[in-house]
Amino acid sequence: MSEQPMRPATPMLQQIAEHHSLLQRFMGVSKEWKGFVFLLLAGFGLANLAIAYVVVDGRLDGHWYDIRDLGNAVAGLRGWMQDEGFHPAVPYVTTALLGALGILSVVGGWLLIGSWVERRVLAKFQIRQGPNRTGPFGLLQPIADAVKLMQKEVVIPRAADHFLYYAPPVIIFIPALLGWGPVPWAERMSFLDLNVGVLYTIAISSLGVLGVFLAGWSSNNHYSLLGAMRTVAMMVSYEIPISIALLAVVLLTGSMQLSTIVAWQANYNAWLILLLPFAAFTFLFASTAEINRTPNDIGEAESEIVAGFYTEYSGMKAGLFMGVELGNAILVGAMMSTFFLGGYTLFGLETWIPGYLILTTKIGLVYFLFVWLRGTLPRFRLDQLMGYAWKFLIPLSIAQVMLVAIEASIFARWDVPAIFPLVAFALVNLGLTVEMVRRWARALGYAPEIMAQQPVMATTIGGLKAAQKMRGG
């Protein structure tokens, strides 16, 4: 009717109308900042180019100041200390502390960045703004949150088991840190390069169960106990598919050492996700169950059992639980990258780019996938999840392990260039996986077309008789 422009009716609408995307926000910042960021990136790139040149030149390889591999630096430091004639305990303790510090700073840094990323990205998924008041783009929000959490009063239920109430936040933090031990960040950059690394990973991940259970039990709250029992049941069930999926990896690569697994993938230029798609899917899905993330976050399903096993925790104790959840997500990202996505390697580019940067990028991608899932999917029910593990993932995983065992023995005995068997394996595994999943799903009675029947349209009204007529016809 009228030609006049639509006026924003509310302050909220005004805010939305003035809303800028991240890029627009960046275009709007002052020239000094833009120049600074540009200089930073350019300097980093130039430094990398220079180092790559020197590396290719062959002058710097293997020395401690080679930033492609900080492990070299630590090794150099250790050698220097041994040459200087310190007591043998000193290099040992120093390098151990340095490694621990590195892992702590990675995890701690991620706890700060990851929560910002999660909230911000999730907000973009949900057409919201997300944190944008503290600092540029709300970057200081995690710090503000942490300070807030630390200041909060810690309320302890009177009926709680005091001895056990204090322990769980710490207990479940330890595996979340220990799990980082065997992750190879670059060729020689691994804190604890165990030759039973895969087994170690599984064993450490099974330790978190007890912390979760104790948290639920000692709170003396039915919601906590329900959440704890759900989580324990789920974790115990999903450890089996994880173990079997990793068994396939171990069979194919012939080693339980994480660095060897990565080296195998780098050697054949083949990511294991291409060779073992079902194992990769199993690992990813079961990991979401292990670390309580959507769509498997039934342990702390907020619409059902408030906050699950940490309902009664407040202040920084609850903060620790949330931090562990975040840290576990990023740890699973690291494991996923290491086992299935080639770890710190990127088809030869790791000689040019520091390996830990490649690994961090891959971790970030997996983490983004987690956030994406959280912003998209509803939650499973406990019985559905358990059925999915026991009826679907475990049988198919076992079948896949048999297949991989045959393939591994062929691979070890067949004397042709590796590219032929690997491409054949990839095709066979992909085809068989698709076929097996389809057939097994049919056998379990899965019928999507009947499920999604939509309501019918009635033009007349009526009661029971009309209903029976509609049902009959």
Binding site: M1, S2, Q4, M6, R7, A9, T10, M12, L13, L122, F125, Q126, I127, R128, W217, N220, H222, L226, R230, T294, P295, D297, I298, A301, E302, S303, E304, I305, V306, R374, G375, T376, L377, P378, R379, F380, R381, L382, D383, Q384, P448, M451, A452, Q453, Q454, P455, V456, M457, A458, T459, T460, I461, G462, G463, L464, A466, A467, Q468, M470, R471
Partner: protein
């Protein structure tokens, strides 16, 4: 959990039943609604609902206010569908006092009631999916349309939630000129949005797994249990007051009634979704047909209807909103009763929840779509 000592032995029970208190502050009770459930593991054995945290004794207060003064109470009862409540009471007063309504006012009433239905269904479906565990994304998407509708309300009557818009004899304000282009834009945009939601949710495997076959209500139970609205239609009973007892000018519009097939949570969800589509159809026709004219007839400030009683009802988003008004000839109603669909739809809650697991019960409660302001009044 330290075990309580129990007298006697019950050899059949494998797990100790315990009492779980859900609410009044719980994310999935949609307000200050409380249920105490007796649980056996994850399975609900028994359920007792406790309401009244929001009880304001609206019906008693209404007996001391004039008929027009009572209209704001209907906003506060069902605060997610204030327009429908307004409309029901306005129709009741008109029928009781014999007030005529201009035709344009009837069309405006239809337009606002249908907008309110879309907004309320968006809220209901969003919270239902949120209850099913989608972390607020569908809810916030559906808030996008609801915000636009509330902006239209704000333009017209100054309030977003408690509109107080319908009056005996018409509506309180003529919409401003910029209302119409905004409404047309919204109506043009809505079908695409609804298709988007259907695409996102109607075929989602997890959502189907969570809602198909859950909380099944047979048509016999639904009718006998006084269920109304989408809860009744989801069970397969094609009953809609807009067609059964056409009030305002609903008999002039062409629309269908979506009816569920199996009576489970998914059918109730989809009924709401498709009703939104039908509401858009009604809106399109209403915008095309609306005549010029006054938007209300003036009535006396202290209306004194003759002695008598009336039960007027409209099809709100949650079903039949009924007003039972008894007049003794005075300026205030002698008796004012609001038939609250949210409360009465809960009649079957106990039967539905017994034997269901906790997540299923939460989804079922979400699909019944309660508004606690209306339950407690």
């Amino acid at each position: 959990m330290p075990a309580r000592r129990r007298q006697g032995t019950n050899v059949n029970s494998t797990v100790e039943p315990y009492v779980l208190n859900i609410g009044p502050q719980h994310p999935s009770t949609h307000g200050v609604f409380r249920v105490r459930v007796v649980m056996d593991g994850e399975v609900i054995r028994d359920l007792d609902m406790i309401v009244g945290y929001l009880h304001r004794s609206m019906e008693k207060l209404a007996e001391e206010r004039t008929y027009t003064q009572n209209i704001p109470f209907t906003d506060r009862a069902d605060y997610l569908a204030a327009m429908s409540g307004n409309l029901g009471l306005a129709l009741g007063i008109e029928r009781l006092a014999g007030v005529e309504v201009p035709e344009r006012a009837s069309y405006l009433r239809v337009i606002f009631a249908e907008l309110q239905r879309i907004a309320s269904h968006a809220m209901a479906n969003g919270t239902l999916v949120s209850d099913a565990g989608a972390w607020q994304t569908p809810l916030l998407y559906m808030f996008r349309e609801r915000e636009k509708i509330l902006d239209l309300f704000e333009m017209t009557c100054g309030a977003r939630l408690t509109t107080n818009y319908m009056r005996a004899g018409g509506v309180s304000f003529e919409p401003p000129p910029e209302f119409w282009p905004a409404l047309k834009e919204l109506v043009a945009e809505l079908p695409g949005r609804i298709d988007e939601y259907m695409e996102l949710l109607a075929d989602n495997e997890i959502f189907l797994g969570r809602t198909r076959g859950i909380g099944v209500i047979t048509p016999e139970d639904a009718i006998n249990g006084s269920l109304v609205g989408p809860a009744l239609r989801g069970s397969g009973v094609p009953w809609d007051l807009r067609k059964a007892e056409p009030y305002c000018v609903y008999d002039r519009f062409d629309f269908d009634v979506p009816v569920g097939i199996r009576g489970d949570v998914y059918d109730r969800f989809m009924c709401r979704m498709m009703e939104t589509r039908e509401s858009v159809r009604i809106l399109q026709q209403a915008i095309a047909q609306i005549p010029a004219g006054p938007h209300k007839n003036d009535i006396p400030l202290a209306l004194r209807p003759p002695v008598g009683e009336v039960y007027s009802r409209v099809e709100g988003p949650r079903g039949e909103v009924g007003f039972y008004l008894v007049s003794d000839g005075g300026p205030a109603p002698y008796r004012f009763h609001l038939r609250a669909p949210s409360l009465i739809n809960l009649s079957l809650l106990r039967e539905l929840a017994r034997g269901a697991s906790l997540p299923d019960a939460v989804v079922t409660l979400g699909s019944i779509d309660i508004v606690v302001g209306e339950i407690d009044r």
